[in-house]
C-alpha cells in the first residue's frame, strides 16, 4: 500500500512536468473557469476563505514565496532567500522592477509595510500569528528584506507562501476587497456580483513570457449538475473543482473533454469530540478507526477518486508520513476494542453534518452504516453551515461531525486543547514545538512525522481521505494544474492548443 501511494505520488509529480515539455505553449485566448463558491470579498489578507484564494491568489496577487505544481516553495516576489545557521534570520532578495497594477513600485519598504500591517494591533488578517514571530524587519537596501524571528519557525516559509501573506500596494490598498490590486500576471477587471470575476492579462508582468491567456473569467456555479451542463453546452471551458465526482467518468468518456484527478490539500475527517463520552475513550476511537473501510468510503462517495490518509497531513505536502497502515479495516479488532472499552453492545451517538458539503453528508451516511457494524448506532443530523460554525465549531456541542480541512500546514490545530475536537495531549504539543524549532530538514522530517504518528495513534479524528482535485476541461486546454498543493487556481501558465 505504501509503495502504491508513493508510486502514485511520483506519477502525479512526473506526469504534468512531462506534459509541459511536450508542446510549446501558444499565446492568446480567453478562459472561463467555473467554481462553486463566490468569494466573500477579493482580499486574501482579510479572510481565510478558500474561495478568495482560488480566484485571486497567484493570478492577481502574489507573495514573496510561491508554491509550484509539486508543492515546493519557489521564488515569487523574492528571487531567493537565505536563512542564518541558527534559523532565525531570513534575508529575502526581492525581484527588481516589479510594479503593482496601479503603477506603484514594489520594493523592500512595501514588503515591510505589508508584514507590519498583517501583525499590527486591530489587524483583520485571519492569521496574524503567522507574522507575529517576526521580531525585527530591516531593509538594508531597496531590494533586500532582513527578517529576524523571535524563535525558529519551521513553517515560516510555508506561511509566507499562503494567501494571507500576499503583497498589497501601500497606497491603493483600502478597496482591496472590491477591487484587488496586486503584482500578478492578471489584472482585476470586473466583479459582477452573483455571477463572475473577470481579469485580463498584465502586459507589464515581471515575467515577460507570461501569462499566455489574454483573459480569465471565474464564474460561480454552485449546482453540480448545472456545472456539468454548462461545460457540455460550451458556456464554460473548465470546471475547476468538480463537486459531482460520480459524473467524472461520464465527462471523461466524451471526446471533447478530459478530467484531471490530482491531489488537493483538503483532508476529509470525521471530527470527533475528544472530551465527551464515550469518545473521550481512546479505545472507542481506535475501534472506530478499525471499523471504517476507507477505500470503500472513497469508492462510494467520490466514485473512487481520492487518496486514503491515516493522519492529518496531505500526501502532496513535504514531510508526509504514511500512517494508513496503522488502522487497517478489521471488524474483529474493532469489536474487541469496543468490548475492552466497556461497550460490547455498542452505544448510540449523533453525527452532525454540514449541509453545504454534499460529500460530507454522503460520507456521514456511509460511515453511519460502517459504525453500525460494531454496534455504534449513529443518528444523522444535517445542519446549515452557519449553525455548524456556531454549534459544532464554537460551542463544541457535538459528538461526531464530518468536514474537510483544506489548509495544508494546519496540524498545529491539534496542539490547541480548545479547538473544536478538544484534543489535549502534552506529548503532541512537545513534538509539535520540537518540529517548529527544528533547525534542519532531517529534524523537520522527524518531528513533523512524529506529530502525524501521535495524532494517528490516538485516533483523534476519523482520518478518511484526501479530497481529489477533480477538474474537467476542454481537450485543448493545456497545463492546468493537476494537483492543487496550495489553495489556488493558478492560470499563469495555462494555454490553449490551437
Amino acid at each position: 500500500m505504501k509503495k502504491l501511494v508513493l508510486l502514485l505520488i511520483a506519477m502525479a509529480l512526473i506526469v504534468p512536468a512531462s506534459w509541459a515539455s511536450a508542446a510549446t505553449p501558444q499565446k492568446g485566448g480567453s478562459l472561463i473557469i467555473a467554481v462553486g463558491d463566490e468569494p466573500p470579498g477579493l482580499d486574501p489578507t482579510a479572510s481565510a476563505s478558500a474561495a478568495i484564494d482560488r480566484v485571486v491568489y497567484a493570478n492577481i496577487m502574489e507573495g514573496l514565496v510561491k508554491v509550484d505544481r509539486n508543492g515546493q516553495f519557489v521564488p515569487g516576489l523574492a528571487t531567493k532567500w537565505d536563512v542564518s545557521p541558527d534559523g532565525k534570520v531570513y534575508t529575502f532578495n526581492l525581484r527588481q522592477g516589479v510594479n503593482f497594477h496601479n503603477g506603484e513600485p514594489f520594493n523592500a519598504q512595501v514588503a515591510k509595510w505589508n508584514l507590519e500591517r498583517a501583525s499590527a494591533e486591530g489587524t483583520k488578517n485571519a492569521h496574524p500569528e503567522f507574522f507575529r514571530v517576526i521580531a525585527k524587519i530591516e531593509t538594508p537596501d531597496g531590494n533586500r528584506l532582513k527578517l529576524t524571528l523571535k524563535d525558529v519557525d519551521a513553517l515560516f516559509i510555508a506561511r509566507m507562501a499562503e494567501g494571507d501573506a500576499v503583497m498589497l500596494p501601500m497606497k491603493g490598498y483600502e478597496n482591496m476587497a472590491a477591487e484587488p490590486i496586486g503584482t500578478g500576471p492578471f489584472k482585476f477587471a470586473k466583479w459582477t456580483r452573483g455571477d463572475s470575476v473577470e481579469m485580463v492579462s498584465n502586459a507589464k508582468y515581471w515575467n515577460s513570457q507570461l501569462p499566455y491567456l489574454d483573459k480569465v473569467t471565474f464564474r460561480f456555479i454552485k449546482d453540480p449538475s448545472a456545472q456539468v451542463a454548462a461545460l457540455k453546452a460550451g458556456d464554460i471551458d473548465i470546471i475547476g473543482w468538480l463537486f459531482a465526482a460520480e459524473l467524472a467518468a461520464d465527462i471523461a468518456k466524451d471526446k471533447r473533454f478530459k478530467v484531471l484527478a490530482g491531489a488537493s490539500t483538503s483532508e476529509l475527517i470525521m471530527s470527533t469530540n475528544n472530551k465527551v463520552k464515550p469518545f473521550d475513550n481512546k479505545l472507542v476511537r481506535q475501534a472506530m478507526a478499525y471499523a471504517i473501510d476507507r477505500q470503500t468510503v472513497i469508492d462510494l462517495i467520490m466514485a473512487g477518486y481520492g487518496t486514503v490518509i491515516g493522519s492529518h497531513w496531505p500526501p502532496v505536502t513535504p514531510y508526509y508520513k504514511d500512517m494508513t497502515a496503522r488502522f487497517p479495516y478489521d471488524l474483529k479488532k474493532a469489536r474487541e476494542l469496543m468490548a475492552q472499552a466497556g461497550y460490547p453492545n455498542g452505544f448510540e451517538a449523533t453525527i452532525k453534518l454540514p449541509a453545504i458539503y454534499a460529500y460530507a453528508q454522503r460520507a456521514g451516511e456511509v460511515i453511519a452504516d460502517m459504525l453500525g457494524q460494531i454496534g455504534i448506532k449513529l443518528k444523522i443530523e444535517v445542519v446549515e453551515w452557519g449553525v455548524w460554525l456556531d454549534r459544532v465549531f464554537k460551542q463544541k456541542d457535538f459528538q461526531l461531525s464530518m468536514i474537510g480541512h483544506s489548509e495544508a500546514w494546519d496540524i498545529g490545530i491539534y496542539s490547541n486543547p480548545n479547538y473544536y475536537f478538544q484534543y489535549d495531549s502534552q506529548e503532541f504539543r512537545d513534538a509539535y514545538a520540537k518540529a517548529l524549532k527544528a533547525p534542519n530538514e532531517a529534524e523537520k522530517t522527524k518531528w513533523f512525522g512524529r506529530c502525524q504518528e501521535i495524532v494517528a495513534e490516538d485516533a483523534v479524528n476519523g482520518f478518511l481521505f484526501l479530497t481529489p482535485a477533480l477538474s474537467a476541461m476542454k481537450m485543448e486546454l493545456m497545463d492546468w494544474w493537476e494537483n492543487y498543493p496550495t489553495i489556488a487556481m493558478d492560470a499563469t501558465q495555462v494555454w490553449w492548443q490551437k
Binding site: 483583520k124 455571477d195 449538475s225 453546452a233 453551515w385 452557519g386 473544536y420
Partner: protein, 314 residues
C-alpha cells in the same frame, strides 16, 4: 380613491415595520457569526473581535436595529458584508434579472393557460377537457428544478440552442440576456400555467352558467363574443388575483431556478446571503419582497375596478 390610497399606504408602512422587527430579531438570534464565516475556522479570537467591531456586530440589539432603520429612512444603503458594495445597488442589479424573468414567466403562463382553460371549460367532461386537466396535473406534479434541468439537457446540451445558464447583462448583450431568461422563465411559467389553467376553467364554467350569458346568447350574439367578451371579462377577476400572488411569489421565490441556471437574480442573492450571514443584504431583501407583494396586490386591486365597474375602491 384618495382615502383608499392613504389606507393602503398606512397598511404598507405598518406591515414593513412589523416585517423589519421580525426579520431583524430572527437574524439576531440565528446561530452563525458573519465574522467567523468570513474569516474561516482557523481564525484567532482577536481577529474575530476586530472584524466584529468593524461590522458593528458588537453593538446592542437596539443600536444595530436603529442603525439599520435610521439609514434606511434616510435613503442610505448599508454595505454588503460579502460583496463590499451598497445593498441597494445589489438589489437593483439582481432585479434587472429577476424582474424581467418573472414577467416573461407570467406571460408564458398567461399565453398557455387562458386558451387552454377556456377550451376546457367549453368542452367540459369531453376528451379535450380531460386531456387538458391531465396535463395540468402533470404540470403541478413536476418539480421546477427537475423541469429546468430537463430543459437544459435538451435545448442547451443536446441541441445547443441556448446557453446552459448565466446572464450576460442587459447593457453588453440585450438579445443574449433576453435569450438567457427564456428557458428559466418557461420552466417557471409552465408550473404556474397549470394552476391558472385549472382556475380559468372553473371560473369560466361558473360564469358561463350565469343568467346574463344566457341572455347574451338569447339575443343572438355570436358564441365567440359571448365567451371572449362577456364571460371572460367577469371570469378574469379571480384569475388576476392569483396571478398577482404568483408574480409576488416569483420575485421572491425563484431561488431554485436561479441556482439551476446560475442567474445573478434576487432569489440567488438572498439564498447566498443567508448562507453567508450577509445580514444587511438579507434584511433589505426581505423588506423589499414584503413591499413588492403588497404593491403587486395593490395593482391587482386597481385592475379589479377597471374590469368590473361595480367594484369600488374605498
Amino acid at each position: 380613491m384618495l382615502r383608499y390610497l392613504a389606507k393602503k399606504l398606512i397598511t404598507l408602512i405598518l406591515l414593513l415595520f412589523l416585517v423589519s422587527i421580525t426579520v431583524f430579531s430572527v437574524l439576531f438570534v440565528l446561530p452563525g457569526d458573519p465574522a467567523q464565516i468570513i474569516l474561516g475556522i482557523n481564525a484567532t479570537p482577536e481577529v474575530l473581535a476586530n472584524l466584529r467591531a468593524e461590522l458593528g456586530l458588537d453593538k446592542s440589539f437596539i443600536a444595530q436595529y436603529t442603525d439599520w432603520i435610521g439609514n434606511l429612512l434616510l435613503g442610505r444603503s448599508q454595505q454588503s458584508i460579502h460583496y463590499k458594495m451598497p445593498v441597494f445597488e445589489l438589489i437593483l442589479g439582481s432585479l434587472a434579472v429577476t424582474g424581467p424573468m418573472a414577467l416573461i414567466a407570467m406571460l408564458f403562463a398567461l399565453v398557455i393557460s387562458l386558451p387552454l382553460g377556456i377550451y376546457a371549460a367549453r368542452h367540459q367532461n369531453r376528451p379535450g377537457d380531460v386531456t387538458v386537466m391531465f396535463g395540468t396535473q402533470l404540470g403541478l406534479a413536476i418539480p421546477e428544478f427537475w423541469f429546468g434541468i430537463l430543459l437544459t439537457l435538451l435545448f442547451s446540451v443536446q441541441l445547443g440552442w441556448f446557453s446552459a445558464g448565466g446572464f450576460p447583462g442587459w447593457n453588453s448583450d440585450f438579445w443574449g440576456s433576453l435569450k438567457a431568461l427564456l428557458l428559466p422563465a418557461f420552466a417557471l411559467g409552465v408550473i404556474r400555467a397549470s394552476i391558472l389553467t385549472r382556475l380559468t376553467r372553473s371560473s369560466m364554467l361558473e360564469v358561463l352558467r350565469e343568467d346574463y350569458v344566457r341572455t347574451a346568447r338569447a339575443k343572438g350574439l355570436r358564441e365567440r363574443t359571448v365567451v371572449y367578451v362577456h364571460a371572460l371579462r367577469n371570469a378574469l377577476v379571480p384569475i388576476l388575483t392569483i396571478m398577482g400572488l404568483q408574480l409576488g411569489q416569483l420575485l421572491a421565490g425563484a431561488i431554485i431556478i436561479e441556482n439551476v441556471y446560475f442567474l445573478p437574480g434576487l432569489g440567488r442573492l438572498v439564498f447566498n446571503a443567508i448562507g453567508q450571514r450577509d445580514l444587511p443584504v438579507v434584511r433589505d431583501i426581505v423588506l423589499f419582497m414584503a413591499a413588492a407583494v403588497v404593491v403587486v396586490n395593490f395593482m391587482v386591486d386597481l385592475t379589479y375596478a377597471a374590469l368590473d365597474p361595480r367594484i369600488r375602491l374605498e
